[in-house]
């Protein structure tokens, strides 16, 4: 980075305009639109699993109801709070970098990443519990407490949906780490904050998916 700063590259907190864009506004607009479209594809990716949930909940209402009682409501609620808080942190981080408060932004991003790690930790406690009980998908299912047919499918949907979500938590976390590195190097500032904004947007999506998964899997 130090060498590229020596070569005409953008200075501290200055934007980097690619050759095929005329103005910074145009480039920012393009990048934002691209991110929103990408978020759209993510929603549709999860939509397939939500469809599966809807269909099997309809088929095996009894088993789904019973199985959801066997998830830990305390851990699920804690995780929901952890994720929502992390979303607040990332939003505040975005606000901070827009005002040029690089240090505050970095701290807030670190907090967000810690929340993400916390979420994954709690989730793995939950997973371990399910493995112990044998409340597992498909052919691995040997949980003795639910006898209604279809409980194995509840755990199929549960593991697929939360697993895919956990994968997105890891991806989102990596994105935020990358953004954090940029912040620490002084790449971003009041004139150049789109990367922070988009990393935050992605994180909000990860959060939002959970906000739908939580009531569907734990509450109803």
């Amino acid at each position: 980075m130090s060498s590229s700063e020596a070569h005409a590259a953008p200075g501290r907190g200055e934007p980097n305009l690619a050759h095929h864009f005329e103005t910074q506004n145009q480039q920012d607009g393009a990048v934002r639109l691209g991110m929103w479209l990408f978020l759209g594809t993510e929603v549709l990716l999860f939509a397939g699993l939500f469809l599966g949930y809807t269909v099997y909940r309809n088929f095996y209402h009894e088993a789904f109801h019973e199985a959801s009682r066997h998830l830990s409501l305390a851990l699920g609620t804690t995780n929901t709070i952890v994720l929502i808080t992390s979303s607040l942190f990332v939003a505040l981080g975005y606000h901070a970098i827009k005002q040029g408060k690089e240090k505050a932004c970095a701290v807030l991003l670190v907090l967000t990443i810690l929340c993400a790690l916390g979420f994954l930790g709690i989730k793995s406690i939950e997973y371990a519990e399910k493995f112990r009980e044998g409340a597992l998908p498909g052919k691995w299912y040997h949980f003795s407490e639910i006898t209604a047919p279809g409980a194995n499918l509840y755990y199929t949907v549960y593991f697929l949906a939360t697993g895919l979500h956990a994968f997105h938590v890891i991806v989102g976390m990596s994105v935020l780490i990358w953004v954090l590195k940029g912040v620490l190097k002084g790449k971003y500032g009041p004139k150049n904050y789109v990367a922070v904004e988009l990393g935050g947007l992605y994180w909000h999506l990860v959060d939002l998916v959970w906000i739908f998964l939580f009531p569907l899997l734990y509450l109803i």
Partner: protein
């Protein structure tokens, strides 16, 4: 309209620096972010895929020459039609026109220097290569006998190794999504001054509609093939009726993508036709807005028509009826386009060149294929035709008839733009004759076979079907000869073809405003567009498009 490069020596010297020669060597191609070079690399890739899929198609046709086993057994036949389907759909038709001509022409048509995300564009190509390698290697080494549809529960219980193929399709899906995303953003943000939405060329509108489908539908197939893979490896039971799962759910999820996917294939073709019809009838497009909006219309209703693949899956009569009616709307939008195209040709100053022959072929195929589409969308008829050669013939009329015609039109029409050379018109016409006739000879017998009750995907059949099967195979060899001729004269044109002027068709498309082949950054100066797209109002008069 100058012919500057033929020097007195007769040497085809190329003193002008353009995107092809500004930088040399394989590495400069593999690391390029230039949309034009990426388009050319897509061209080579999809042509290889087409060759591969074509070889498998010929193997299938040879097998079907006799009622008994001819050259292969049942299992090999199943693998062959799976290979043919997967290669032709995922490796050829979906990326063909967007990947090649979308990449090459779209930024030129917008007066832009590149697509919005050039590096992402290169990533799409690499993902395509990765997915293609995985899928093809997986099919050849492990075998896959499910057909391109991967229907559960067969796909989750077949002894063949399916996982690499599924992973390949998943990765190809990513490539498709990123291309679509890139194009949408490019169209929104990189239009040159003067190009409002109602001045976009119709090819751009078609690519726009296509990209929306790519972005919205493809994630679902990605998830679906992954679920099949997990099901096969991990036994999660999601599509397994013995564990309480529902195989029909697979069909819904699969067709939620794969029905819109046929519009990913056919909409860009429609865009190509709109461009070429204007250029070769030298006339403003009749009903510009109608053609533009009907592309969006097809993209929209295409999302709600998937159930017509499932009329015999046990879904309710109400669902069947609803899906049938929605499917027919596609016919309405397509008809709007066809009437407008014919209206454009009407009293135009027709230039009878090779692309025009294919345009006529396209119009015939889309009407004939479209009408049989309305027929199979009718529930009471489809119950009889379902899974017969009638559906195979209908599908190939639209997909091969329309898409291949459009691909060939695009290849001929933009050949001078891409390479600065002209192909040989006489050979072009000859090949077009072979292809259009061969195509009819291949697939009209299949309509008759299907109507007589011959089911698809069997390597043996009763003797009474033989005459028509032989006719179909004969037709397919005409088709193959046609493609070989095209390949030979185009390769020849690439090396020794007559040098083309900047705008050999005297087309009014914005992509012709720059030199052919274009310079590295497309335009020497950003063009300012002052006329509508396809503006041929005053024949013979130079249209003042540009204020530099």
């Amino acid at each position: 309209m100058s012919q500057p490069t033929d020097l007195d020596s007769g040497e085809p010297a190329s003193p002008v620096v353009n995107y092809l020669n500004h930088d040399r060597g394989v590495w400069s191609w593999l690391t390029t972010v230039d949309h034009k070079r990426i388009g050319i690399m897509y061209l080579v890739s999809v042509l290889l895929a087409f060759l591969l899929g074509g070889i498998f198609a010929m193997a299938l046709r040879i097998e079907l020459l006799t009622p008994d086993p001819t050259i292969m057994g049942a299992n090999m036949y199943n693998r062959m039609f799976t290979l043919h389907g997967v290669v032709m759909i995922f490796l050829f038709m979906i990326p063909a026109i967007p990947g090649v001509f979308g990449n090459f022409c779209l930024p030129l048509m917008l007066g832009a220097k590149d697509v919005a995300f050039p590096r992402l564009n290169l990533l799409s190509l690499y993902l395509y290569w990765t997915g293609a390698t995985l899928a093809v290697a997986g099919m050849i080494m492990g075998g896959a006998d499910t057909g391109w549809t991967f229907y559960a529960p067969y796909s989750t219980s077949t002894p063949e190794t399916l996982f690499p193929v599924l992973l390949g399709v998943f990765i190809l899906g990513f490539s498709s999504i990123l291309t679509g995303l890139n194009f949408i953003v490019t169209i929104h943000t990189l239009r040159a001054p003067g190009i409002g939405w109602m001045r976009l060329q119709l090819f751009v509108w078609a690519i726009y509609a296509t990209s929306i489908i790519q972005v919205l539908a493809t994630p679902v197939i990605g998830l679906t093939v992954m679920l099949v893979g997990i099901e096969k490896v991990g036994g999660f039971g999601l599509f397994d009726a013995t564990r309480g799962g529902d195989p029909v759910l697979f069909q819904h999820m699969f067709w939620f993508y794969s029905h819109p996917a046929v519009y990913i294939m056919v909409l860009p073709s429609m865009g190509v036709i709109s461009e070429a019809i204007a250029a070769f009838s030298r006339k403003n497009v009749f009903g510009y807005k109608m053609i533009a909006y009907s592309s969006l219309g097809i993209a929209f209703v295409g999302f709600f028509a998937w159930g017509h693949h499932m009329f015999v899956s046990g879904q309710s009569t109400f669902e069947n009826g609803a899906f049938a009616v929605i499917s027919m709307f596609v016919g309405v939008f397509t008809a709007i386009k066809v009437f407008n195209w014919v209206g454009t040709l009407y009293r135009g100053s027709i230039a009878v060149k090779t692309p025009l022959i294919y345009i006529c072929g396209f119009l015939f195929f889309i009407v004939f294929g479209g009408m049989t589409g309305i027929a199979v969308a009718t529930v009471s008829l489809d119950v009889h035709w379902h899974d017969t050669y009638f559906v195979v013939a209908h599908f190939h009329f639209i997909m091969v008839g329309a898409v291949i015609m459009a691909f060939l039109i695009a290849l001929h029409y933009w050949f001078p733009k891409m390479f600065g050379r002209m192909y040989h018109e006489g050979w072009g016409m000859t090949a077009a004759g072979f292809i259009v006739l061969g195509f009819n000879a291949t697939f009209i017998p299949q309509f008759l076979l299907g109507n007589a009750g011959m089911p698809r995907r069997y390597y043996m059949y009763p003797e009474r079907f033989q005459a028509l099967n032989v006719a179909s195979t004969a037709g397919s060899s005409l088709l193959a000869i046609g493609f070989v001729i095209v390949l030979i004269y185009l390769v020849f044109a690439l090396v020794r073809g007559k040098r083309a002027s900047d705008n050999p068709w005297d087309s009014r498309g914005y992509e012709w405003l720059t030199t052919s082949p274009p310079p590295k950054h497309n335009f020497h100066e950003t063009p300012v567009i002052t006329q509508d797209a396809h503006s041929y109002q005053k024949p013979g008069e130079e249209v003042e498009h540009v204020v530099l």
